[in-house]
């Protein structure tokens, strides 16, 4: 079993399965905060998936996308929490 086979048949399915589990919490989540946390974790898992995918394909350009995703995850979480807190302050 080569390294590519191991990554393609074992590591990538495990990451995809964990994305499915997180997506279940994203759809179901009782409060909006759960959905935001699930979205954050989805993007973070996506960064790991991109890292493994770039090894499988042998192209290091995909890592740039992972950097942008990390930026977007932080910005979206900060913006969501800011507006949730603001909405609750008004009441």
């Amino acid at each position: 079993m080569t390294l590519n086979d191991y990554l393609y048949y074992i590591i990538l399915p495990v990451l995809a399965f964990s994305i499915l589990l997180i997506f279940y919490r994203f759809v179901k989540g009782p409060s909006i905060v759960d959905k935001i946390i699930a979205l954050d974790l989805l993007i973070t898992t996506g960064i790991g998936l991109i890292a493994v995918y770039s090894i499988v394909n042998g192209r290091s350009t995909f890592i740039d996308t992972a950097m942008i995703l990390a930026l977007i995850a932080f910005l979206s979480t900060v913006a969501f929490s800011y507006y949730i807190e603001k909405r609750n302050r008004k009441k």
Partner: protein, 141 residues
């Protein structure tokens, strides 16, 4: 030699990401879910990125991977703190088996400022006592 290191690192990283996903499903409480997101997933993604850096063995890729790891390590606690604070003001309920709420009476609804003195005015405080009965099916028993 480097492929063995890559196999070990990616296995550990995928395992930690999977544990974070399982914790996202199994944890009974929003605050516990926040703690899952910040620790396990950060470690798992860091290991996966390090394995990518070892595979390419290249200065530009390594520096990019290290920058992403540094960024994730810096921003995960900050975003977890912000979202935890927002959910506390939103009145997200604690788990009904939680032993104590350390912030009880210290965060008031009006000014959103942390005080060290406990103030138990019932109108100003936010109720986190336990989950409602209609949320009970979300509890993992």
């Amino acid at each position: 030699m480097s492929s063995i290191i890559i196999v070990i690192l990616t296995t550990l990283g995928a395992l930690f990401v999977l544990l974070a996903a399982i914790g996202m499903i199994r944890m009974p409480d929003t605050y516990l879910r926040i703690s899952v997101t910040t620790k396990a997933a950060t470690l798992g993604v860091g290991l996966l990125l390090i394995s990518a850096a070892i595979y390419f063995n290249d200065l530009s890729t390594t520096s990019r991977a290290l920058v992403i790891i540094l960024f994730v390590l810096l921003t995960a606690p900050v975003s977890a703190h912000l979202i935890g604070r927002a959910s506390y003001f939103m009145g997200v309920k604690l788990w009904d088996k939680s032993v104590m709420d350390d912030l009880r009476g210290k965060y008031q609804k009006k000014d959103h400022v942390l005080k060290s003195k406990t103030d138990n005015t019932p109108g100003d405080n936010i109720d986190h006592s336990h989950l409602n009965s209609d949320d009970e099916d979300d509890l993992v028993k």
